[in-house]
């Protein structure tokens, strides 16, 4: 007999934490959500992730109780895991229902490659495009466009990156679906033109309307306010 306890330490607007939430919900794993203020981190978070001191952190505790008449042997594992994509892979291995990662090694490697590549390239370019203006923004938009073109090729002809069902790459890239439109509004710019990128646009609609995903998104007005503040801070820092 096992008693599982799963806790997710996260910050409401974090796209990294959102990946973990999606993985848990798609697999119907019960968990406790613990909201962390990243501008005023708890001592507990600093203990759970002493290296980076960041969210998300998944803590998995498993109490194994002995069967009746067996020698008492309680095993308690209190396991914090950090880094969102690593957490998603851990979740996928621990709870087998609704597999996320492709089984074939080449497809798995391909999905991992795109998850980290898009995060590095579009995450950075998108942030700059959202928070800066003028030449800096233009340069970032050009860089964003290059990687978005590649994503368009990847999604062509598919409902999700995972095929007929949401897979690892959808979870990894899902932030694009709900966050890019917010960034576009905050930065007064356009990264994903529907006519230019019909595949991605269609995927965004499919992803956001999925029954598990649609109720998980942070409120749009709250996100707009948050990112407007981040943009203002960024611009002020730049002036200094």
């Amino acid at each position: 007999m096992e008693n599982e306890d799963v806790k997710l330490f996260n910050f409401w607007v974090s796209p990294f934490g959102k990946r973990v939430e999606w993985a848990l919900k798609l697999k119907d794993v019960k968990y406790d959500y613990v909201e962390e203020d990243i501008f005023n981190k708890s001592n507990l978070l600093l203990q759970l992730n002493p290296v980076h001191k960041k969210v998300p952190v998944l803590v998995y505790s498993c109490v194994q109780l002995p069967p009746p008449f067996a020698v008492p042997n309680i095993v308690h594992a209190h396991k914090p895991i950090a880094e969102s994509l690593i957490i998603v892979e851990y979740i996928d291995e621990t709870w087998k229902h609704y597999p996320l990662l492709p089984r074939h090694p080449h497809h798995k490697a391909h999905a991992r490659f795109w998850a980290t590549t898009v995060e590095q390239k579009l995450g950075k370019a998108g942030w700059v495009a959202m928070s800066r203006s003028g030449e800096e923004q233009e340069k970032a938009l050009k860089e964003a466009n290059d990687i978005i073109e590649k994503i368009e090729e990847e999604i062509k002809g598919k409902k999700y990156f995972g095929g007929e069902n949401i897979g690892y790459l959808d979870v990894a890239l899902g932030w694009i679906a709900y966050l890019v439109p917010v960034w576009e509004e905050v930065g007064s710019m356009k990264m994903i033109e529907p006519l230019k990128f019909p595949g991605i646009t269609s995927w965004m609609t499919n992803f956001l309307s999925h029954p598990v995903i649609k109720d998980t998104l942070p409120p749009r007005d709250k996100m707009l306010l948050y990112y407007h503040n981040r943009r203002n801070n960024s611009q002020n820092l730049h002036k200094v």
């Binding site: 895991i81 880094e83 690593i86 957490i87 892979e89 621990t94 090694p105 490659f113």
Partner: protein, 231 residues
């Protein structure tokens, strides 16, 4: 058996990672040395996003990015495993691999630095990383990050430390202050003296000559990443 080819650079720590993995598992492969000034069109087709090495071709399919390749190899050829089978231990190993890769930005800062002060700051940044590893990874007595045997974390860090050794000689700087990081030092000695790793380390003087040539024929300000110097 499907053919295996590795497109790489003899001087790149990212290529070393894949080579070491193939050698540790005794896998036969064809080594294709790419010319950084004249990279093959094949390479650009295999890696259109980054246009860089290493790229592993297995059964005519490309796999890119060094540690993704290493995990792929371990999955296809599970003997002499490099990745823990326990999911939690695996997640911890993957965490430290990512940490090693984050350290590469600090290594690039040394290469990019324009004066002594910047260089010192960059070196101190690396020390911060090594301090964390010294405290977090070596609580108990073990020869390698993987315990008694090499694992993906050893491969990831080993390549960067070897490159730092070369950088120290090429630039005349001291980065690996081992008296500050005794456990890390002990680990690296174990790692580089493991027979298969030792046989597959690049020649130090050849590497130093290569790096000096590369760094001093290109203006420092144009070097932004190790990729720019074809690493």
């Amino acid at each position: 058996m499907a053919e295996i080819k590795l497109h790489g650079f003899w001087y790149s720590p990212f290529t070393w990672r894949v080579k070491w993995t193939l050698e540790l598992k005794g896998i036969s492969y064809e080594n294709i040395e790419e010319d950084r000034f004249n990279m093959s069109t094949q390479l650009f087709q295999y890696n259109p996003v980054y246009k860089r090495t290493p790229v592993l071709i297995h059964d005519r399919k490309p796999i890119c990015e060094s540690m993704i390749i290493v995990e792929y190899i371990d999955q296809i050829w599970p003997h002499n495993p490099l990745i823990p089978t326990d999911s939690y231990e695996k997640s911890q190993a993957q965490f430290w691999v990512k940490y090693a890769d984050d350290m590469i930005f600090a290594v690039e800062s040394i290469v990019r630095s324009n004066n002594g002060e910047e260089k010192e700051k960059a070196i101190e940044k690396i020390w911060e990383y090594l301090r964390v590893v010294e405290v977090q990874c070596f609580n108990d007595e073990k020869n390698f990050f993987g315990g008694d045997t090499i694992n993906i974390v050893d491969i990831a860090f080993g390549s960067i430390v070897k490159f730092l050794e070369v950088l120290e000689d090429a630039l005349g700087v001291k980065v690996l202050e081992y008296e500050k990081f005794p456990h890390f030092h002990s680990w690296y000695n174990n790692f580089k003296n493991t027979p298969i790793i030792k046989e597959n380390l690049p020649d130090q003087s050849k590497m130093v000559a290569f790096l000096k040539f590369t760094l001093f024929v290109m203006p420092f300000t144009s070097v932004t990443t190790l990729s720019c110097i074809g690493i």
